[in-house]
């Protein structure tokens, strides 16, 4: 009988302890909020698991991989040229720049990177800078829209439409360009294209000025971005940030200046960089980069040389169709290239290019032959996003939107 009473007492004590625990949960100092993977501010399929204390973030855990397609696995199973369409789908806001970066990496492996004709190099620079303007226009437009300035998006999208028209005339596709080939380009510039480009460069300067007027001294925009998401230079380097995000954190570094590729060392442009590393600085850096890209476009147009666009090597570039049908040697080259691909030497190379989002690098480990043994894509968005769990804690939940917008990432590239 006594024993029964003791059990009852114990039970009620346990219940009360349970009640206290329950109450603590209800009073809950911390709350878990799931943001994404389909949320307009996460620009694709990024998912954030946020731990909140009221409106303040105490812990952030980015979940990525929703767009993982196994590009690196696919690359191990096809020839170098066959992989170019897959690079369109990395940073799908700047496919031309990805095509160029990948081709340069393979050309480095083949040892033909210094044999590219001048015209090819100039056209590739034009491609890269067009892609940069296009990516930054979307990045800024979406960033501004996320923090409440909807109009800018409409302006920048109008300009992007013009870029897409130019790209369509150049490559035959608006989005998935697949323009470069190992050792050259799929085709030369169409007739009259340079005039169109010159016209566009005039127009886009005006549009950039308009976006600048709408945002740079816009009180709401400045209030929402200044001193928000501050990333110090040390943190930016340690977390592997590259591109505009690194430059925003007071770091004057651009691969086009530090390790010039193509003809960037013959062109005149400035590298903008920020001061404190907040969202506003990253915005300013992108804004100025677009102006510098327009400068580069104008210089390329003025200097654009004539001549061939492909290397003169039958083992690298597909021969002229007419010759394939009439000459034995070209027929053999055509057959070998289509069935085996370029015969790469054994060795390993890494090539990183300054893409709109940062350093896009390709590491190719070759055992010889037409197929890479291992191809690693060093995606700038992957490294840029890894800083979120460090930067987000301490910010309000509404700042997440501004910080994500200012980091300007693309999940296609992050997840690969």
């Amino acid at each position: 009988m006594t024993a029964t009473q003791q059990i009852e007492v114990k039970d009620s004590a346990a219940r009360s302890a349970q009640a206290v625990d329950d109450l603590r949960d209800v009073q809950g100092e911390k709350m878990i909020l799931n943001m994404g993977p389909s949320h307009p501010a996460t620009h694709g399929v990024l998912r954030l698991v946020l731990e909140l204390d009221g409106e303040i973030i105490t812990k952030a855990d980015p979940e990525i991989g929703y767009l993982h397609r196994g590009d690196e696995k696919i690359a191990e199973n096809m020839t170098y040229n066959q992989f170019i369409p897959y690079t369109d789908r990395l940073d799908y806001l700047a496919p031309l720049a990805n095509n160029v970066a990948y081709s340069l990496a393979v050309e480095k492996l083949l040892g033909i990177h210094d044999k590219l004709p001048e015209r090819c190099q100039y056209i590739r620079v034009i491609c890269c800078e067009l892609a940069r303007i296009s990516a930054h226009l979307l990045g800024l437009g979406a960033f501004a829209m996320d923090v409440g300035a909807l109009t800018v998006f409409l302006h920048t999208f109008t300009e992007r439409e013009k870029i897409y028209n130019l790209i369509e005339a150049l490559t035959g596709a608006r989005f998935t360009t697949t323009y470069t080939r190992i050792g050259g380009l799929s085709r030369d510039l169409p007739v009259g294209w340079t005039d169109e480009l010159a016209k566009f460069s005039q127009e886009v300067s005006v549009a950039i000025g308009e976006a600048d007027k709408l945002l740079t001294r816009n009180k709401i925009f400045v209030d929402r971005t200044r001193d928000v998401g501050v990333i110090s230079r040390e943190d930016a380097i340690d977390f592997g940030l590259t591109g505009p995000n690194l430059r925003g954190s007071n770091m004057e570094y651009d691969l086009r200046k530090a390790h010039p590729y193509l003809v960037y060392d013959q062109l005149d442009f400035d590298v903008p960089y920020g001061e404190v590393g907040d969202c506003y600085d990253r915005y300013l850096v992108r804004m100025e980069e677009m102006r510098q890209s327009v400068r580069l476009l104008d210089q390329c147009l003025a200097k654009l040389p004539g001549g061939p666009v492909n290397v003169d090597d039958g083992k690298i570039i597909l021969p002229d169709k007419q010759k394939v049908l009439s000459s034995m040697e070209e027929l053999i080259h055509q057959f070998m290239l289509v069935t085996q691909g370029q015969d790469a030497p054994a060795g390993e190379v890494y090539f990183g290019a300054e893409n709109p989002k940062g350093e896009l690098g390709f590491y190719i480990f070759s055992k010889g032959g037409g197929v890479p043994y291992r191809l690693k894509i060093r995606a700038p968005s992957f490294a840029n996003l890894s800083i979120l769990s460090h930067t987000l804690p301490g910010h309000m939940i509404s700042d997440v939107v501004a910080i994500l917008g200012s980091l300007d990432f693309v999940m296609g590239e992050c997840d690969r």
Binding site: K73, F239, G240, T339, V349, Y363, R374, D415
Partner: protein, 208 residues
């Protein structure tokens, strides 16, 4: 970060360290375990023979040689060779603009490397990816979870013995994990073969 005059001294063309000099210093510091450098297309690769000391080598490269940026960390599956795994570290210094590549190999039985996430914080995600794709563990990593595949996924898809078409996995709450509709790549072609089914197998290195 070094002071401004020190930075300028390190960056000026006369006093700037070259990648070769840096590689030599690193080799001297770790006598017997660092070999190379091998040069290919102007890039230097150093081989670290003792994989368990890779973090120490990295720490030295960062602290004493100014390699403050881990560009990339990746792994290679040397299928049917020993040792099976090779880890590749691309390091870079903003103070001297030099790249170096460090490589180290580890056996399949061990499949474990010391983490470098305490040296460069960016290594955290890179190592998680290497673990996710290849199944190599990193000892001392603060949060070694899968990153691109979902938690609980039973395979390591970048291994050479994993078929391109994928494998069905018995995971609840996943929409489908059957081989992809095109079964692993629409443009996979091989020379030879009698008919188009043999030339375009739709599935490389199938099971068994």
């Amino acid at each position: 970060m070094p002071s401004q005059p020190e930075r300028e001294r390190r960056l000026s063309p006369e006093t700037r360290m070259t990648a070769k000099q840096l590689a030599k210093t690193l080799k001297q510091q770790f006598k017997g375990i660092v070999s190379g450098p091998v040069e290919f297309r102007g890039e230097l690769t150093l081989e670290v023979s003792d994989a368990s000391r890779i973090a120490e080598v990295c720490q030295f490269a960062k602290a004493e040689q100014g390699f403050d940026f881990l560009v990339d960390l990746t792994t290679i599956d040397n299928h049917e060779e020993t040792p099976r795994w090779t880890a590749v570290y691309h390091i870079y210094g903003y103070e001297h603009f030099c790249h170096l590549r460090l490589k180290t190999s580890v056996s399949e039985e061990e499949s474990e490397l010391p983490t470098v996430s305490s040296v460069w914080r960016t290594a955290n995600w890179h190592e998680r990816e290497a673990y996710d794709m290849m199944g190599i563990r990193f000892a001392g990593h603060p949060d070694l979870r899968r990153i691109l595949m979902w938690e609980g996924y039973p395979y390591f898809p970048l291994r050479k013995d994993f078929p391109l078409a994928g494998k069905p996995s018995e995971m609840p709450d996943v929409a489908f994990s059957d081989p992809a509709p095109l079964e692993g790549g629409p443009f996979v072609t091989m020379a030879g073969g009698e008919d188009s089914t043999a030339r375009e197998p739709r599935e490389r290195n199938p099971e068994g």
